[in-house]
Symmetry: C2
Subunit: 170 residues, 2 copies
DNA sequence: AGAAGAAATATGAAATTTCATGGATTATGT
DNA sequence: ACATAATCCATGAAATTTCATATTTCTTCT
């Protein structure tokens, strides 16, 4: 796969494909990749009766000892007020538990429950398989490299504003 | 950068840093990368008075001879009803022009206007610089490889029924 | 050709999200 | 220690998005 396929803007016919600005724009490529890869799997999520955000919450809590609302809102890319409401619904359904944090009493710590774990068990396995299928055409080495580069990108660009917002240009 | 930084998230020392499910989940990594990289630039977009969706519409039309509402809704990751409304507002502001398609009269073809082009001129340049800055730590070769792999991923996963999600997530 | 089905877009009602803000707690500075 | 500022979360009002559907225009099939 792929040392060359990307470089030539696609056109199957003699039709000349206009080179759109976005076609080489990293943010666009990431957004499209994210959307398309996620979308494929989201069908399976919704088939279980969970909303996408609910799945994200549970997936984010899986393997964690609990996350605050704030951290969870970053992990799930959901704004804090939205997440607060979602988590409350999920607590009512028994998928998560909310407890005050011992260390900082402003925080609400959210944990996945046994039920939440059980409900997502099959989904997580499907997610792994889906990922394998997605990466399969790239081969082990390239796949690992993609993952590594994405992790590096994230390490270079921390979640919230580590940079002082007042200083960054408007 | 990075042949190693990512792979070893767990230590053998008994005390395991909790390995969250999502930490190795491609869809999560893509969603986070997309969100963080975009977010940095979105501040600049909003400073110009454009909404993110408006910027996406204009960026998508740049270098194009016109796109239908349907295609545009895929390019901008915005659901069709939402996009129809956004485009109508943008037409009122003179940023785009809507015309019926000659070939298929059901379609509405949207083009960027001179004003739309002018309004985004500085932004596109900033976008290019932002991208350079983001990719700089990876070096030319790795950067090119990342772009290529993302394009390959997109080629393998064509856009389909557009189910938007702002910035698609996990 | 004609009918039936599919596709593209627009639109209103309903649902969701976001903004702005408040209350509570912790951090900072003097 | 006290006052002030900053952080964290919840919540209602407002704005936006989504769903469902109507309309118009192709496509396909007989």
């Amino acid at each position: 796969m792929s040392e060359d396929s990307a470089q030539d803007s696609f056109d199957e016919s003699g039709e000349e494909a206009p080179v759109r600005f976005v076609d080489n724009y990293l943010a666009y490529l990431l957004a499209q990749a994210s959307s398309r890869i996620s979308r494929e799997f989201h069908r399976e999520v919704e088939a279980t009766g969970l909303s996408i955000t609910e799945w994200r919450v549970l997936a984010s809590l899986e393997g964690s000892t609990g996350e605050s609302i704030g951290v969870l809102s970053e992990l799930t890319l959901t704004k804090q007020p939205t997440l607060s409401k979602v988590v409350q619904r999920m607590e009512a359904e028994g998928l998560v538990a909310r407890t005050g944090a011992l260390k900082d009493r402003r925080q609400t710590v959210v944990r996945i429950t046994a039920k939440g774990h059980r409900v997502t068990e099959a989904l997580r396995e499907r997610a792994r398989r889906h990922q394998e299928a997605v990466l399969e055409p790239f081969g082990q080495d390239n796949a690992r490299m993609l993952i590594t580069m994405l992790k590096d990108l994230l390490a270079l660009h921390p979640a919230q504003g580590v940079t002082d917002e007042k200083d960054s240009r408007v």
